[in-house]
């Protein structure tokens, strides 16, 4: 599948991570909309649902888990795939992410190349 025109929302309050993910996904052909917190991310996702969202878990305002919960409880957003990108690496954190409805879970420090592969695989599976 060509990534052209695939919309991705990236939400992370860490400038470096947000810019890295935005650059890597943009270079791979995705259209990226980046935000710095969960509230803005959720507003953006509701206004114009993307195919995929990459969410940090620990963000000011709404956490990535809160945003994910809102997405999963909204029928109109059922096709939005969600990747959690977080430093929280304990088994209980991963369990919480997947049980809330995450499609994938990536732990920081992360490999930008792996992120792109996972995003592509996830979008291909959801075709």
């Amino acid at each position: 599948m060509s990534p052209t025109a695939v919309q991705v929302v990236v939400a992370d309050d860490d400038d470096d991570i947000r810019d890295l993910v935005e650059l890597k996904l943009t270079q791979s052909g995705y259209e990226v909309r980046a935000t710095t917190n969960g509230v803005e991310a959720l507003e953006d996702i509701r206004r114009d649902p993307p195919q995929l969202a990459v969410l940090d878990v620990m963000m000011p305002g709404l956490s990535g888990i809160d945003v994910l919960r809102e997405i999963r409880s909204d029928e109109s957003l059922k096709n939005v795939r969600v990747v959690l990108l977080t430093a929280r690496s304990r088994d209980t954190d991963v369990d919480m992410g997947f049980s809330t409805g995450a499609d994938d879970y990536l732990i920081k420090p992360f490999s930008p190349r792996e992120l792109v592969h996972r995003v592509a695989a996830l979008l291909a599976r959801s075709q």
Binding site: D19, L20, Q27, R72, G101, P109, S111, P112, R113
Partner: protein, 370 residues
């Protein structure tokens, strides 16, 4: 009895003025300090702005030609700000981008500076340099990091232990032994905290096994405690018999708890009676609760029977731990449902059973929503 002198209004006024002046001065110091920090951050941002695109290209693995890396190496305008930015990025990425960032740091002499700073008078500088060496994930610096495990500052020792963990199995078995020894208190200073040592040794994987086997025999209960935790986490099956002994009779209760939980991870189903024996009312409460958790890990009919036997225990925490452990396996969940349907079950046991079944229903409905 001595006559008490009345405190004059003038004295109280002077004290009040003094307190107000001190508060104003402190507030001024805080404001000036924050303004200073903000200005330094802004200056740093301005110096780094022309290099931001190159930093991101290297950090994202989008520098196929190596041009961005070369520009970062050659730059002489951003100085230590650039070195710090590279180190910051190193904490966030791994794989090829991390290797390229290490190369930038090395060619800018950042690594040589860090090695020099290991002997600095300031413990903050030593800790920062130690952290940088860990971020390089280069086993050739293992001996430098091992040396920092003996640093006079507890903070530096903790950073060194974490940095050794970042090296992973490449740090080797001697590093595992050194980390375990660093748990011991020395010269009245506390050793490396158990949680830090546990995390580091877990990251060393199979390379930690020899040190763990030896640590289980150590005189220091802190060392035995960490060794037992790692044995369980890294599934060092050969430690099973020793863990069973420690669970039953170590003189330190904390060690008994760690050994019991570790035995739950590495023990065989045929060993389950050892843990069931630790549920006896004569055992310390913390050991009984650990035994309940371990039985949840081991599973099997004998484990289920043992857990069911303490559901009505006076120690309600133990009863809840047992119900939680039962909920972990299919056989345990079946036992919970059978008990809920049995009218002869004592009221104390029934409350633990119904509480856990309600919890299971709640979890199932949560999954249904998702």
């Amino acid at each position: 009895m001595r006559d008490e002198q009345p405190i004059g209004q003038g004295f109280l006024d002077e004290v009040l003025v003094a307190v107000i002046v001190i508060c104003v001065v402190l507030a001024g110091v805080v404001v000036i300090s924050r303004v200073g920090i903000a200005r330094r951050a802004e200056r740093s941002r301005q110096r780094l702005a022309p290099l931001r695109a190159d930093l991101l290209a290297v950090g994202a693995g989008e520098d196929e030609s190596g041009d961005a890396r070369r520009r970062l190496v050659r730059d002489r305008t951003a100085g230590h700000d650039l070195d710090r930015a590279v180190v910051n990025l190193l904490t966030k990425v791994r794989g090829r981008p991390a290797e390229d960032l290490v190369e930038v740091l090395r060619e800018r002499h950042g690594v040589a500076s860090a090695l020099n700073a290991l002997g600095a008078a300031s413990s903050v500088r030593r800790a920062r340099a130690t952290r940088i060496l860990g971020l390089l994930r280069d086993a050739s610096h293992t001996n430098d990091l091992l040396r920092m495990l003996d640093d006079r500052s507890g903070e530096v020792r903790i950073v060194a232990a974490r940095a050794i963990g970042a090296l992973g199995p490449a740090a080797g078995p001697s590093a595992a032994g050194a980390v375990l020894r660093a748990v011991r208190s020395r010269r009245s200073a506390p050793g490396v905290p158990a949680t830090v040592a546990l995390s580091t040794l877990t990251q060393l994987g199979v390379e930690a096994e020899a040190a763990v086997v030896s640590g289980l025999e150590d005189d220091d209960p802190g060392v035995r405690n960490v060794a037992a935790g790692v044995a369980g986490h890294n599934l060092f099956l050969a430690t099973g018999p020793r863990l069973a002994q420690m669970a039953a009779s170590d003189p330190d209760h904390t060690v008994r708890v760690s050994a019991t939980e570790a035995f739950g991870a590495v023990g065989r189903p045929s060993d389950v009676h050892v843990i069931v024996g630790l549920l006896a009312p004569s055992e310390p409460a913390v050991v009984r609760r650990a035994a309940a958790r371990a039985l949840g890990e081991l599973g099997g009919e004998v484990a289920v029977a043992g857990l069911v036997s303490v559901l009505g225990d006076d120690d309600r925490f133990l009863a809840t731990s047992a119900a939680t452990a039962l909920a972990e396996t299919e056989a345990g969940r079946r036992a919970l449902r059978d008990l809920a349907a049995d009218e002869a079950v004592a009221p104390e046991a029934r409350s633990a059973v119904t509480g856990m079944l309600q919890m299971l229903d709640l979890r199932a409905s949560d999954r249904g929503v998702v």
